[in-house]
Amino acid sequence: MEIATSRSGRLSLTVFFWLLVVLLYLPIAFLALFSFNEGDPSFPLSGFTTHWYGDVLANRVLVSSLGRSAAVATASSLIAVALGVLVSFALLRRRFFGKPAVSALVFSPLVIPYLVFGISLLLLFALVDKLLTDWFGVYIGLGLHAIVVGHVVVALPYTILTILPLLERLSVSLEEAAKDLGANTQETFRRVTLPLLMPALVSAFLIAFTLSFDEYAIASFLAGSEQTWPVYLFAQLRVPSLLPQLIAVSSVVFIASMLLILSAEIGRRIAEHRYGREFSARGLA
């Protein structure tokens, strides 16, 4: 006998599940549908067109906002992955005083309200600029660099959460073998650990990239005059005539980020397979 559900219970759960999946995707499907619709984004549909997509390419401001987002996402994800590898190694392979505190600190950006973090950085940059102008008569100002700084912080825990479990499976014996064969620490890292870890790093990079590319709350405080894609999108939502274009780009971004996330997941699976099920120390806070 199946204990978890009766036959009818199972059926209703199945129906409920698929209903919810449909509801989750339906709003997005509507958007995709409207991106090919001649008139306003509403029913009844008024004819098939692809000219919204063409308009997007002609919209310089929009395209440059996408470029800025891509730049910010690339820079912040690279830094976040690099820092994430360092933290993962320290948490997993080293014993040191204050490990629980370090672990709490690196994961706390997961729960800090982005609103509070955004204004904290706004205040930081205002303060730094005030000191710089008082002392040297120069200032940095807000902009993409400020967003990168913030996105690294919020992406860091996600990169650690991706790298750490995979690093845990990566057997220490391979590195020990390399050392026994005469490789020094750097060589071992570069020629053994890093190649083995690559799928995990790519996966972490993709997750950080999608997070940053889409991030609005923090960027809205720090963008200054350099609008990233979400900041631009948000600002233009009040202009009804632009809505179809925005919907068209959003649909493309949605599909692209879905593909990125799926590749990240595939990368993670590849890494899991590569490392097998071996386990090393679990001495983690």
Binding site: L13, L24, Y25, V106, P113, L115, L123, V153, Y216, F254
Partner: protein, 301 residues
């Protein structure tokens, strides 16, 4: 090798390990100290007037703004409770919706469960603004819902159902929509790790399915449920983007007040008080419920 040699080599090894640990951690810790801890400390300092930024700042330390806020002298305390109420409602609804999903995936599906889980979660990982935008298009006066009602002649085009958009209802609906996929995750993790033999034991001892569910399955998945609840409740208290897009005046929340104080006005000190208060509430909640939230179990499953 003599004992002295061994001891010497272990201490030097230990010393080297300590050095490399410092090397590993220095860059990340420096980054977090400069760009995460310090800014938050500045907000705290600014909220009591310990930092001067603008010519109007006096530089005199005073807790007046805190007092004023905590005693309910401004509208902000009311907005805070409104945010809490909405977050609570959303969290409860979302957990109730996500539980059956997680239960189905963990206990009823055999082969495809991780694929199906991915199907549920993928929307969560894609554009947040896009998903909110979609609802704006659906709920508007000429949106999907209303145009459906028009074409079915239930409502006339001059008289659309206008409370769908720019209302508290819209805020709650969109927040629930946004968070359901993510919340299924911790519940799924707790149900998936459940020892099946306990269910069999319960059944062998004569309990029917409902009794097994209430007395065995549900209590054992409670940590996952609490984690799920915290996952929605904590981030939605400070929500300000969704209300901006679909909330209208009646959906104006605490987070919007903070944002306005920083972007529209120059009363950054009151804004800092509100922001710090929010942070303290979130930290308090995490201290209370944090042990249920095992970030790692979620990430690896």
């Amino acid at each position: 090798m003599t004992t002295a040699d061994v001891t010497a080599s272990t201490t030097s090894w230990k010393r080297r390990e300590r050095r490399t640990t410092a090397g590993l951690l220095s860059a990340p810790m420096l980054w977090l100290a400069l760009f995460f801890v310090a800014p938050v400390v500045y907000v705290a300092a600014y909220s009591i007037g310990a930092i001067t930024l603008f010519p109007t700042d006096t530089g005199v330390i005073s807790f007046d703004d805190w007092n004023h806020f905590l005693r309910g002298g401004s509208v902000y305390m009311g907005l805070f409770w409104k945010s809490i109420r909405i977050s609570l409602t959303v969290s409860v609804v979302v957990v109730l919706l996500a539980y059956p999903i997680a239960y189905f995936l963990a206990l009823c599906v055999r082969r495809m469960k991780y694929v199906l889980l991915l199907v549920v979660i993928v929307p969560f990982l894609t554009s947040f603004l896009l998903r909110v935008l979609a609802w704006k298009v659906i709920l508007g006066d000429r949106g999907v819902v209303n145009s459906l009602l028009f074409s079915l002649h239930i409502r006339s085009p001059d008289d659309p159902v206008s409370w769908l958009l720019y209302s508290q209802f819209a805020v709650m609906l969109v927040l629930a929509y946004v968070w359901v996929p993510f919340v299924a995750l911790p519940i799924f993790a707790s149900l998936d790790n459940l020892d099946r033999s306990l269910l069999e034991a319960s059944s062998d001892l004569g309990a029917d399915r409902w009794r097994t569910f209430w007395r065995v399955t549900l209590p054992l998945s409670a940590p996952g449920v609490v984690a799920a609840f915290v996952f929605v409740f904590v981030p939605t208290i400070g929500e300000f983007v969704t209300p901006l897009l679909v909330g209208g005046p009646s959906g104006y929340l605490y987070g919007n007040a903070i944002q306005d104080l920083f972007t529209r006005g120059t009363d950054w000190q009151s804004g800092s008080v509100l922001a710090m208060f929010l942070l303290i509430v979130v930290a308090g909640l995490m201290a209370l419920f944090g042990r249920f939230v095992q970030v790692r179990s979620v990430a690896t499953d």
